[in-house]
Amino acid sequence: MTPLLKLTEVAKSFGAVQALDGVSFELRAGEVHAVVGENGAGKSTLIRIITGAHQPDRGTIEIAGQRVLHLTPATAHRLGIACIYQQPALFPDLTVAENIALRFEPTLAVRKINWPERRKRAARLLDEIGTALSPDAEMRSLSMPEQQLVEIACAVGASARIVIMDEPTASLTQQEVEHLFAVVRDLRRNGVGLIYISHRLEEVFALADRVTVLRDGKSVGTRQVRGSRGNEAQSNPSGIDRGPAASTETLSESELIRLMVGREVSQIYPPAEGDPGHVVLSLNGVGCAASGIKNVTLEVRAGEIVGLAGLVGAGRTELARVLFGLTPANAGEIFLNRQRVVISSPHEAVAHGIAYVPEDRRRHGVILEMPLAHNVTLAIHRRLFPGMWLRFGAERRLALDYIHNLAVKTRDPDAPVSSLSGGNQQKVALARWLATKPKLLILDEPTQGVDIGAKGEIHKIIRRLAKEGLAVLMISSDLPEVLGMSDRIAVMRDGTIAAILSGRSDGHEVMAVALGQK
C-alpha cells in the first residue's frame, strides 16, 4: 500500500542550528503515528515542513505516492493535510460556523454567502465528530478543548487525509482527553492518517500504532507500538487502557525513554569545584495561582548551580517569573539570605539582588536597538551614576570590561546589540545582570539558539560565576546541558518540583521524572 505521506532524508537548518538532519518518515492510511522526542528534538520543524510552513533544505516529500516539490500551506491544505495545534488558530470573533466555512468555502470575495447552507454544514460536521456544540456560538466563548473540536471539524470538513495533532491534550481534563481519543479513533477507522505529537507517553501507548523517536534533529527509529493490535483496537472503541496484550508489546516505556534520551554527554563541561556555601535562596511551599505554580520548595546555595529540568509547560519559566516578581507568588515563603522577602515587581527583585536573564533573548533579554554599553548599564543606573547624571566614560569602561571578560565579539561598545550574533547578544544580556552584582542569577535557556562554540564559552562563564560565589538557578531544556552543568537537578512537572536529583544523575532518570514515569 502506498503510504499517505513519505518524507525521505529531509533536512532543515536555521542559521547555525540544524533543526532536522536527514529525517525519513512515513505515514500510512488508518494509522496513528506518534512522534516523540525531547524539547528541541525537531518535532515542530517536522510539522512545519509537512504543513508547508517551512521548505526543507534537502530531501523529498511524497504525498499519496506523488512527489511534491514546493509544498506551501495552500497546497498542503489542498492535498488534504490539516494540523490541529495546541493553541487552535481560529478567529475568536467569528462563530463556529463561520470559522468552519472559512477553511474550505471558495474564497471569492464577491460570492454571495449561503448562510443557512453554511450553518447546516457546520452542524453536520460537528455532529459527525460527536459534539453538541452550537454552530452559532462565538469562538471566544468556547473552552480550549471545544476549540480543538472545531479544528477537528474543519479537518473533517476539508476531507483531510493527513491530520497532525500537536500536543492536543496539554490543557485537557481526563474526560476531555477520552472524548478526543474517541474522535481520533473514528478518524483512524475512516482511513485518515494521524500524526500525533505528545510528551505524554501513556497517550502514545494508548493511541499510537507506531512511534517515531526524534533526537537532535535525527530520527532514532520507528517502532511498532502494538503490532497487529492496532486493527484490534479499531473494533474496540473503549480500548483506552492497554488491554490484556500489554505483555506482547514490542516497545516498553523505559525503552522509549532510552531512545529519546540515549545520548552520551559528549561535550566537555567545566567541572564543579569546592563545596557550596550558605543558602542564598530558599523557597518554602511557594505557589502562584495565576501561573499554575504550586507548593515549590527548593534551596539554592552560594556557589551552586541548580538545574531546573522539565518539559515545556512544566512551569519552569513560570517559576522564574514568580521569583522575579513578574507574576508575584500568592502562597508560601521566599527567603533570600535567610531574610523573608516579598517580591512583587521586577524593580523589587533587582533591589533584592536577583537577576533574571529571560528565555526570549531577542525580545526581552536585551534592547536590540540600543548600543551595547547602554544595555550593560541599564539595570545599574542608580549605582553607576549617582545623581542620575550619565558618565559616559565610566559607562564605556564598564562595557569594555565586560566585552573583555565575557569575550563578546565586538570592539565597539556603541554598536547596537542587533549587530551582534545570538551568542554575543546573550553575553550582553548576561553582562547587564552581572553588572548588578546579584546574589542569585536565574538563567532561562541560556544557550538556546546559540552556536556550539559560544555555548561552551557561556558554560565556562556560568561555572566561573558560581565559583565566585553566585547562586545560579539554570532553566534548560537541553538535557546534556542540565546534566553537565548542574550540581543538583530539580525536575519540574505540572507546576511543582517532582524530584530533586543529584548532579550525577543520568538523563534517563531525569526524563523519567519529567515524563511522570516515576
Binding site: 527583585a349 525580545r363 540600543m370 541599564l378
Partner: protein
C-alpha cells in the same frame, strides 16, 4: 556619520532650501523677516520636543492643540489678574503639566491606548474652553504681556532665547540624564525595560507630564506675540508637531529619535510658508509641500528598514 544620517539629511535639505532662497530671494534673510520666521517656529519647536519625548516612549498625544489653547487662556487671565510675568509663565507651564498628567494617569495608570485617550481629551478641553469662554478673546492685557513689555525686537529675542534654553534643557536631559535613557529603553522594548528593573508605567506618566509642561511653555511663547489671547489658538498644532518630529527622524514605532533632528524638522517645515511668499508661489501650496516632505521622510525610513531586514 552613519548613525546621524537622518539628522544630517534633514539639515542638508534645509541648507539647500536656504541656499536657493539666498540666490532667488535674499530679502528672506533680512533681519526682521528672519526674526519673525524664527519666533513663529519657536513655540512649534518646544511642542515638537515634547511630542518627540512621547513618541520615543512609544506613545502619542494628539490633544496638545487643545492643551495649548487652555494654557494660552490661563496665561492671559493670570496676566489680566495683574500677576507678574514670571508667575504667569509658571502658571501656564503648571497648567500644561496638569493636563499632561491627566492624560498620563489614564494611559500609564489604567493602560488605555494613548491615541484614544488623547483624542477624547483633545475634544473635551477644546469644547470645555468653548463653553467657558464662548469664543471670547482675553483682551485688555497689561502692558507687560505682549513681548514681555520689551517691545517687538526685544520680545522676539527673548522668545528665541527662552526657546533655545528649554531646547537645550530637553537635549541635555535626553542625552545626559538617566531618565532620558529610560525613555528610550521603555520606547524600544517596554517588557525588556521592565525586566531590567525599570518602571515603564512611571516613565510613561512622566513623559506626558513633561509634554504638558512644554506645551504650556510653548503656549506662553506664542501668546505674548499678540495683544489678545485667541481661544481658538493651537488648532492643528498636534499635526505640525508630530510631522516635524517624524521629519526629524523620530521613529513613530518608538525608541529612536534625536532632538537635533527635531530642530531641523521644525525649521524646515517652518521655512516653507515664508519661502513660498518670496518665491512667489501661491501660499495654498504650503500644506501640500509640508505633507509631501513628511511623506518623503516616512517613505525613506520605510525603505531603509526594508533594506535592513
Amino acid at each position: 556619520m552613519k548613525r546621524h544620517f537622518r539628522e544630517l539629511s534633514v539639515a542638508a535639505t534645509l541648507a539647500l532650501l536656504l541656499l536657493l532662497l539666498a540666490f532667488t530671494a535674499p530679502t528672506f534673510f533680512a533681519k526682521q523677516q528672519l526674526l519673525t520666521t524664527l519666533t513663529t517656529a519657536a513655540p512649534l519647536l518646544i511642542a515638537a520636543c515634547g511630542i518627540a519625548l512621547v513618541v520615543i516612549a512609544r506613545q502619542i498625544d494628539i490633544s496638545i492643540g487643545s492643551q495649548f489653547a487652555v494654557c494660552s487662556i490661563v496665561a492671559g487671565l493670570l496676566a489680566k489678574a495683574g500677576l507678574p510675568m514670571p508667575v504667569v509663565a509658571l502658571g501656564a507651564v503648571t497648567c500644561g503639566a496638569f493636563l499632561g498628567a491627566f492624560n498620563g494617569a489614564l494611559i500609564a495608570g489604567l493602560g488605555l491606548p494613548s491615541i484614544v485617550v488623547t483624542l477624547a481629551t483633545m475634544v473635551t478641553w477644546r469644547e470645555a474652553l468653548r463653553w467657558w469662554r464662548e469664543g471670547e478673546f482675553v483682551k485688555d492685557l497689561p502692558e507687560g504681556f505682549q513681548w514681555f513689555g520689551f517691545g517687538q525686537a526685544g520680545g522676539q529675542v527673548t522668545i528665541l532665547v527662552g526657546a533655545a534654553l528649554v531646547f537645550a534643557l530637553v537635549v541635555f536631559t535626553m542625552r545626559h540624564l538617566a531618565v532620558g535613557r529610560f525613555v528610550y529603553a521603555v520606547g524600544s522594548d517596554r517588557e525588556s525595560a521592565r525586566l531590567a528593573g525599570l518602571r515603564p508605567q512611571w516613565r510613561t506618566f512622566s513623559v506626558f507630564v513633561a509634554l504638558g509642561g512644554l506645551v504650556g511653555f510653548a503656549a506662553l511663547l506664542n501668546a505674548i506675540r499678540f495683544a489678545d489671547v485667541d481661544p481658538k489658538t493651537g488648532t492643528g498644532l498636534e499635526m505640525q508637531a508630530i510631522g516635524a518630529a517624524v521629519v526629524g527622524g523620530v521613529a513613530i514605532s518608538g525608541g529612536r529619535g534625536n532632538l537635533w533632528g527635531v530642530l531641523w524638522g521644525v525649521l524646515l517645515l517652518s521655512c516653507i510658508g515664508p519661502a513660498l511668499v518670496f518665491l512667489k508661489i501661491p501660499p495654498q501650496w504650503e500644506k501640500a509641500i509640508q505633507g509631501a516632505i513628511i511623506l518623503l521622510a516616512v517613505a525613506a525610513e520605510g525603505w531603509k528598514n526594508r533594506k535592513q531586514s
